[in-house]
């Protein structure tokens, strides 16, 4: 596996593969790999002939009061994990390679990025879109793999690629969870043992919502309220948002009429965690007589 830090060498490697007719997959990451990242790499491996994993803790997507400085990093371990997963190239540029002096161009998706994480993290998706557009332009992948844990990011990136006519197929990998259900995240390393227990309330609230829907609940407000109450019952949690809405437009819905997104952002101590699921109201559910 090659480890490249310069855009020019990354572009040359990708150009060479393209000239050989290879299909290229890109997995954009911020590193500190867990099984979630590794599953994205497996998915990329199946979808293409050459797999590039980018590892870049993107300063542009962190707010001034966020955890850029303490975001966990371990390039050596990440390189070993990626290589073991059959990755062909790890692209790990320094920040000044991506944002040299005088940098001043930004890519922004408006509506889809306005609410949810976009509301609590101003500028976050602008940073995400900009770095992803740059990575797409450097690597020119045929396919790129994103995790569905960051559901809004997935939809924002899909929109950005379609709107800007970037000829890349975006694949989504389902949320990868710890055995007890906690969604894998590099930020889980911030959690104390107590916080780790409280963090489980995110997943169990998704299960609660799925059960309510199975039992016939269709009112978004009642689902949100039940989820919020469940999370609040766990010590040290503070809800940023509980959202029930359309998975494509990310607009809230009042009643569930088809596959519906339930997305959460919750502070557990000083750590902000997100999770989501798609609620599937079955039209012949037990509460319906027709």
């Amino acid at each position: 596996m090659d480890i490249l830090t310069e855009k020019s060498s990354m572009r040359r490697a990708a150009d060479r593969w393209r000239a050989e007719g290879r299909r290229i997959a890109l997995v954009p990451t911020m590193g500190y790999f867990h099984e979630g990242h590794l599953s994205l790499m497996d998915m990329a491996r199946k979808a293409a002939d050459r797999v590039v994993v980018s590892l870049f803790v993107n300063p542009a997507q962190f707010g001034p009061s966020e955890d850029l400085a303490r975001y966990p990093r371990d390039l050596e371990r990440d390189a070993a994990l990626a290589e073991a997963r059959g990755v062909d190239c790890l692209f790990a540029p320094p920040a000044e390679e991506m944002y040299p002096a005088g940098y001043q161009t930004w890519v922004e998706v408006t509506d889809l990025a306005a609410g949810l994480c976009g509301a609590s993290r101003p500028g976050h998706f602008r940073g995400v879109c900009t770095v992803v557009a740059k990575l797409f332009n450097i690597v020119r992948p045929d396919v790129a793999v994103f995790g569905a844990k960051d559901f809004q990011q997935l939809q924002v990136v899909r929109r950005m690629a379609a709107d800007l006519d970037l000829p890349v197929e975006i694949l989504a990998h389902p949320v990868v969870r710890e055995p007890d259900g906690l969604a894998m995240s590099s930020r889980n390393t911030y959690l104390s043992p107590e916080e780790r227990r409280s963090a489980l309330s995110l997943f169990s609230s998704l299960e609660l919502a799925a059960r309510l829907v199975r039992e016939g609940e269709r009112e978004a407000g009642r689902i949100e309220a039940a989820v919020a109450a469940h999370i609040r019952s766990a010590p040290g949690t503070r809800i940023d948002y509980v959202f029930v809405g359309d998975p494509e437009t990310l607009r809230p819905v009042k009643r569930l009429a088809g596959p519906t997104l339930l997305a959460l952002a919750v502070w557990v101590g000083k750590t902000r965690l997100i999770d989501n699921t798609i609620l599937e109201p079955c039209p012949t559910g037990p509460m319906r007589a027709d």
Copy 2:
């Protein structure tokens, strides 16, 4: 010459040429060709094996009170002119092909786009950058040709391409002028015979400035004042800006120490015209004794 209106057919044509090893040039235009456009096509012809001219009156770069609706259009004439100049493909998509329902992604250059035309036309360069990024992603040209008449646009597009890692070389073609010096522009068709005479004050003020510099003037403020007074002496003119500054950063300078941009935007009646030149202070000019 092919006339294509769909992104997918444009992309296929360009992909085919690329696979054959052809070098592709793109000339983005809003149509209603004059000799300025045709000179860009000649430059593109020399720089590449295949020349694509895009013809798109981009709604995103017009303000709500601007001349989008009355901007001159003549596709048939344009197609004949482009074909005669050896263009391989005219890409003329309808607006809904470039901005379908739900479109919401924008590319923005901050500092370089903030002043001059960016100040008087809010959102203009956001529209320009977005459509140019899209055209670059559809055609993937090796080289793109822009006119130096829109000097700020040229520098903003250069910055955008470099910042977003778009692997395209940007070529600038010098301002093309009518025999009497008026910079060619599709908007010149708006001018009445009287306005056409007044419009000449833009070019003659550039000549005046060049003469002052040749005679030793180095104070930007005095050059600006002389240029402004000259333009104001022409009937029906109203100055938007007279700018003397650094051609790379587009920041104003107080004294001329090297090649310096003089850029103008002037209303002549209801028509806004722009022009510019690079002032070249000769270090051994007549006013210097050292």
